[in-house]
């Protein structure tokens, strides 16, 4: 596995509306610097001026205000990021950041749930904690495998607003759902966890992918924050680019917006991640998205 990569990324998001609409959006489309990640160049394009600010999670956010009605919004984020394999270990956030305890709070999509879904989540929690390894790190790896087994990757089963418990009941989902279940179970066991949205170089031949990627980070005393990608059953490698964090998809997602009018909407997301440099002996990790 390559221990260092330079990745060229292009992330296109296109909304098409049946009629003209106004919109206000918060874009979390700009990767930051962190352990094992350096941004060489990055730019976001939109059909209007972008206004940068930082949210409380230290994500770089752009506000986009579209008060002149449009029938299409195209957002393009692109740039070059250098990554180093850290075996998923990100380390501490540093002074002034939100402390690990903050990340024990439930997000709207990461509770254990209520009703039938809640019962199934709790049963799943009992299953994975039954033979719980004593070490937190071992338990998190155990949880990672349990999620892959329990809910295989399958697009189209869930939607953006599906909660962790709802996805578990469906027995399938996409990276977002896997991350949500991982986060919900980790927090239920007193382990701080958070949602990460980002990109993943997924094949030996560069080419377009369908969507961006998402995974989870959990806090392990001594190591700090450690990434876990339940969709692929591994910890992030140099193939992963972190963009934004949140309590769950609701505040960590790439685009959150509101529009006025416009009727129906179609959304097309296209991500391409290609390595600028690749060592010849790079065995790639098989992934689904």
């Amino acid at each position: 596995m390559a221990s260092r990569l330079i990745l060229d990324i292009t992330h296109r998001t296109r909304y098409r509306f049946d009629g003209p609409t106004t919109a206000v959006q918060y874009l979390r489309l700009s990767p930051g610097e962190c352990n094992g990640q350096k941004v060489h160049a990055w730019a976001v394009e939109a059909p209007g001026d972008l206004f940068p600010w930082r949210d409380g999670h230290r994500n770089l956010v752009h506000s986009l205000y579209l008060h002149e009605p449009l029938t299409e919004i195209e957002l393009v984020a692109r740039g070059r990021v250098e990554t180093v394999d850290q075996a998923g270990v990100l380390g501490e956030d540093g002074a002034g950041a939100l402390p690990p305890e903050y990340w024990l709070r439930e997000g709207p999509l990461t509770g254990l749930g209520t009703g039938e879904a809640g019962l199934q989540m709790r049963a799943f929690n009992r299953d994975v904690t039954r033979h719980r390894p004593a070490q937190r790190l071992d338990f998190l790896h155990h949880l990672l495998r349990a999620i892959v087994d329990r809910m295989p990757y399958q697009p189209g089963v869930t939607v953006a607003g599906t909660t962790a418990a709802e996805a578990l009941v469906k027995g399938a989902g996409v990276c977002q759902d896997h991350a949500h279940v991982f986060i919900a179970i980790a927090r239920a066991n007193g382990i701080p966890a958070r949602y990460v949205s980002g990109y993943l170089l997924s094949g030996p031949v560069s080419g377009p992918q369908d969507v961006g990627h998402a995974w989870a980070e959990a806090y392990v005393p001594g190591l700090g924050w450690v990434g876990f990608d339940p969709s692929n059953g591994i910890c992030p490698t140099a193939s992963y680019v972190r963009v934004a964090i949140g309590t769950d998809y609701s505040d960590g997602c790439p685009v959150r917006g509101m529009r006025g009018g416009g009727g129906g909407e179609t959304l097309a997301v296209n991500v391409s991640v290609s390595p600028l440099e690749r060592r010849p002996n790079n065995p790639y990790t098989a992934t689904q998205q």
Binding site: G56, S63, Y65, R256
Partner: protein, 478 residues
């Protein structure tokens, strides 16, 4: 340890404990003793008519006949002498300074946690803690620009703080209207007694709001009052205060964000807004940052806020300071941030999240008042001494199902004040909510809102639970 109902006689604001008229009430006593038979009934009727004409209402959620009603107003004022008020005022200033210092710290380094005074989890795991406020610098580091502090009295010299209201405290319009009605009905009382005025509140509020504007704002900042609309229980107050300040009363749809700034739609085109006195709760302010289904807020406003282009009063996330679980730590905050001893005392509070406290609370439910940590308006609480055995048992189950959700306090013997009731004049329990304004300086109106429990023996004074109000006098002497 607090003086509880069981071990202390009830203090009467007018007569003290020894039955002698207290000096501050001399004028009121004289007025009452000279009043002809039946006169108070006639005046009460007049007062009620005035209130109806002025349209002073309170929307009581779930009330049977329509959603608005007048708050019962009682003619007999509650009076505070200058000396006792001066001490209260000093205590309020101190408390609000500490609360604001705490909120700044809670959203920055959390030094108070590092110093071991408050567990960090208590702050960052609190639902009221909003991550959008982390590392965000506010003008003057002020969070609760308007703070309503609920006080009760148990003896001549002892007031307790029951609760700090740092989110969107209401009730100040009743303080102002009560004074207005009293001055119209009994002008002679105001010539015979040296009563400190409260009418400057709206002007002070506007000054405070202007002082909270970010440096980028214009030199005469544009202030608006944001209301959720007529279905909100305090809508009357929103309209009243906007009118008194001479600022626009707006709803979310009247505002929009563009260029990272907030604008108000006007017939003459968009006008930039610098300060919003918002009477809308945090989670409804921005559907892009909080509840996506909120129709009351302004999409994009949190981005403009963090960019320093709009001030919100009160700031977002102030709920971390007035939470009933955080309340117990306020004396610590005063010592930690100000290096002073608290002038106003807290009611001793048991945190049911702690095993020792829970054990005591469980065994003494019949003597305690138990409150939900996030409850408000007197809902979801148990008043042990006035509850039946069955009510206590039902509550016990609720408590044990989620102990961390409750705190408990001894039942205080709240002071009483003479009040007109059907059978004549009788003592009824009162509390007091003074309003503290923090801008470039702290301004406190002499007095506040006195709420009175109209049912005999009742300790529940909340407007939402059928309480009434009284004019509150602070004399210029005594």
């Amino acid at each position: 340890m607090a003086e509880t109902a069981a071990n202390r006689p009830i203090f009467d604001e007018m007569r003290g404990t020894d039955g002698k008229i207290r000096p501050a009430f001399a004028g009121v006593d004289q007025w009452l003793s000279n009043m002809p038979d039946g006169e108070h009934g006639r005046m009460q009727l007049q007062a009620d008519l005035l209130y109806e004409r002025m349209g002073i209402t309170f929307g009581a959620y779930g009330s049977a006949n329509g959603h608005e009603r007048s708050i019962p107003f009682d003619l007999i004022p509650r009076v505070l002498g200058k000396t006792e008020w001066d001490k209260l005022e000093a205590g309020l200033r101190q408390r609000v300074r500490a609360l604001n210092a705490f909120m700044h710290d809670a959203y920055h380094r959390r030094d108070i946690c590092r110093a071991g005074k408050i567990p960090e989890a208590q702050i960052v795991r609190n639902d009221q803690f909003l991550s959008v406020m982390q590392d965000f610098d506010l003008p003057g580091s002020i969070y609760a620009h308007i703070c309503g502090v609920d006080l009760v009295r148990v003896s001549e010299g002892q007031f307790y703080v029951l609760e700090d209201n740092c989110r969107v405290p209401s009730g100040v319009s009743y303080m102002l209207e009560n004074r207005e009605v009293m001055m119209r009905l009994v002008p002679s009382l105001f010539t015979q007694n040296r009563i400190q005025p409260v009418a400057q509140y709206a002007e002070e509020l506007l000054n405070t709001l202007k002082a909270t504007a970010f440096p980028a704002a214009s030199s005469d900042p544009c202030v608006v009052l944001l209301t959720p609309g007529p279905y909100n229980s305090a809508y009357f107050e929103h309209a009243f205060l906007a009118d008194e300040m001479g600022v626009e009363l707006v709803r979310g749809t009247d505002l929009f964000v563009d260029d990272h700034k907030v604008y108000m739609r006007t017939p003459r085109g968009p006008k930039q807004v610098d300060v919003i006195y918002r009477r809308v709760d945090d989670v409804f302010l921005d559907p892009l940052a909080f509840r996506p289904d909120s129709m009351l807020g302004i999409p994009g406003i949190i981005g403009a806020y963090r960019a320093g282009n709009i001030s919100l009063a009160n700031a977002c996330g102030t709920g971390i300071a007035d939470d009933k679980a955080t309340y117990c730590y306020v004396p610590e905050m005063i010592r930690f941030y100000l290096g002073e001893e608290p002038i106003l005392q807290n009611v001793p509070t048991y945190r049911c999240s702690e095993a020792q406290d829970l054990l005591y609370v469980k065994e003494n439910l019949k003597d305690l008042v138990v409150k939900e940590v996030h409850g408000s308006g007197g809902a979801g609480m148990l008043v042990g001494p006035t509850s039946t055995k069955a009510e206590i048992e039902t509550f016990r189950e609720k408590l044990l199902a989620n102990p961390a959700n409750f705190i408990a306090q001894p039942t205080l013997s709240l002071s009483t004040c003479p009040t007109f009731v059907e059978e004549g004049i009788a003592p009824r329990h009162v509390d007091l909510r003074p309003f503290v304004l923090s801008g470039d300086r702290i301004a406190i109106m002499p007095g506040g809102l006195t709420r009175v429990a109209l049912r005999k023996g009742s300790l529940v004074v909340n407007s939402s639970q059928g309480g009434g109000t009284k004019d509150t006098w602070v004399l210029a002497d005594h």
